[in-house]
């Protein structure tokens, strides 16, 4: 399969890239890892007239903790996230997620920034970032701005980024004591999108109640879903069986799946209930240091 012809641009700086994007407008697509964009172009579901390859821009990759955040450069490859000791030891939810995205070869190129900016409701990082309360740093011709992840996904494959903006960094509140998370994904085989997946994040108080709760849902709606009612129901409570059951039922109610080859809507809703309960239990175990 051969993509439609396009003009290829390789800006050397963010300034050059944003100026180019401002000039080209909707005719341009940003190329990062290319593991979603290139397949779409080969299927001619997307035929941009210009492709702006940002891989030559220095300083857009890497993972580090600074200023109270885990800061992930937009061009960080999923396999680098997977190989990071920092991520493995302190951010179990992120670690769970980057291990189940596509397959190891795709993860060698696929980027965290691309996984978010592509805004496919079937992608895995959106739910994770919703659960973790991340913020996205975007740079455009008018400068830099922070976008809370909760207002980043505006529709199917649509984000709050304007055509001249590039997602440059993702910031996640730094891991604290008694915090934990888990990502559970049911997929038919390695490399498939989720039938459904759930990201859960909790921070426990000294007394054992939930100070913070984050729950994100993958591939059960037109956009990634933050299960806010489920989060609110668990917040302030002890995460016992009854509270987790209630939260998981509310998460299932928040899911808006459709019937497809991966299963019926009814099945997927129930899957969200089961996965939410399991993810919350594992998140709590990890927060308590039991697992």
């Amino acid at each position: 399969m051969i993509p439609a012809a396009f003009e290829y641009h390789t800006p050397g700086s963010i300034k050059e890239a944003t100026a180019l994007l401002a000039r080209l407008g909707e005719d341009a697509k940003v190329l990062s890892g290319g593991q979603s964009l290139i397949p779409l172009m080969k299927l001619r579901l997307s035929s941009p007239r210009h492709v702006v390859d940002i891989n030559g821009i220095e300083g857009l990759d890497g993972v580090r903790e600074a200023d109270g955040f885990l800061r992930i450069g937009a061009l960080t490859r999923e396999s680098d996230l997977e190989a990071s000791d920092l991520v493995r030891t302190r951010y179990p939810l992120l670690y769970d997620t980057c291990k189940v995205i596509a397959d190891p070869l795709v993860r060698n190129l696929a980027t965290v920034g691309g996984n978010l900016a592509h805004a496919d409701p079937a992608n895995d990082h959106p739910a994770t970032m919703l659960a973790l309360g991340a913020e996205v740093i975007a740079v455009g011709t008018k400068g830099e701005r922070k976008i809370p992840i909760g207002s980043f996904f505006t529709g199917p494959f649509a984000t709050a980024l304007s055509p001249d903006e590039i997602l440059v960094e993702i910031r996640i509140p730094a891991s604290t004591a008694r915090s934990g998370g888990a990502y559970l994904k049911l997929e038919r085989k390695v490399g498939d999108f989720a039938t459904a997946a759930v990201a859960a994040h909790v921070v426990l108080s000294a007394g054992g109640t939930c100070d913070q709760v984050g729950i994100g849902l993958t591939n059960v709606g037109l956009t990634p879903i933050k299960a806010t009612q489920a989060e609110a129901a668990l917040k302030g409570k002890r995460p016992d069986a009854a509270a987790i059951k209630q939260a998981s039922e509310l998460a299932a109610a928040a899911a808006q799946p459709s019937d497809d080859l991966r299963g019926s809507a009814e099945y997927k809703k129930d899957l969200v209930r089961v996965l939410t309960a399991r993810a919350l239990r594992r998140a709590v175990e990890r927060a308590e240091g039991r697992k």
């Binding site: 993509p3 397949p39 795709v106 390695v190 490399g191």
Partner: protein, 157 residues
């Protein structure tokens, strides 16, 4: 667009359309037909090559993205008439039936053993989970990789 790249240590130049896929550059322009096109949809891994040391699916990379980069294909494994221990392992353990997936399996395993020279069976299965074998010959593929890991540990190259 004019691009320069190094493939298996040899420098190449080509004048390509930006939409040309890396796998087509390798097979059609450079005539390195060891790299196979399987599914052409980023699933099967038959087209796996190393780009700057990382195993990637060359059907999902534009040739222009490889400008100035180092590549390695299956043709780069054998040195001076000697098979690489992975190739020898695939022969010894019957790690191939029809052979279509083999170049991709070899390149993925090559990159993997460099990072993890003493893998468990689970590690190997995890590493090749992006490479499909339609003959379902995974048991012997895993044995072949173990064979190579053992040979490399004893000083094979």
């Amino acid at each position: 667009m004019r691009i320069q790249l190094s493939v298996n240590g040899e420098k190449h130049e080509a004048d390509v359309e930006p939409r040309l896929l890396l796998v087509h550059l390798l097979r059609e322009n450079l005539r390195l037909t060891g790299t196979h096109i399987g599914c052409d949809t980023t699933h099967c891994g038959a087209c796996t090559v190393l780009l700057e040391g990382r195993a990637v699916k060359s059907c999902t990379v534009f040739a222009v993205q490889a400008n100035g980069k180092q590549l390695m294909t299956v043709e780069g494994l054998e040195q001076n008439g000697n098979l690489h221990p992975l190739q020898a392992g695939f022969m010894a353990e019957h790690g191939l039936q029809c052979g279509y997936c083999t170049p991709g399996m070899l390149m993925t395993s090559y990159a993997f053993l460099q990072k993890n020279p003493k893998p468990s069976e689970d590690d190997i299965r995890w590493a090749i989970s992006g490479n499909l074998c339609r003959c379902t010959g995974y048991v012997n593929i895993v044995k072949a990789v173990q064979h190579a890991a053992a040979a490399l540990a004893q000083g094979g190259k």
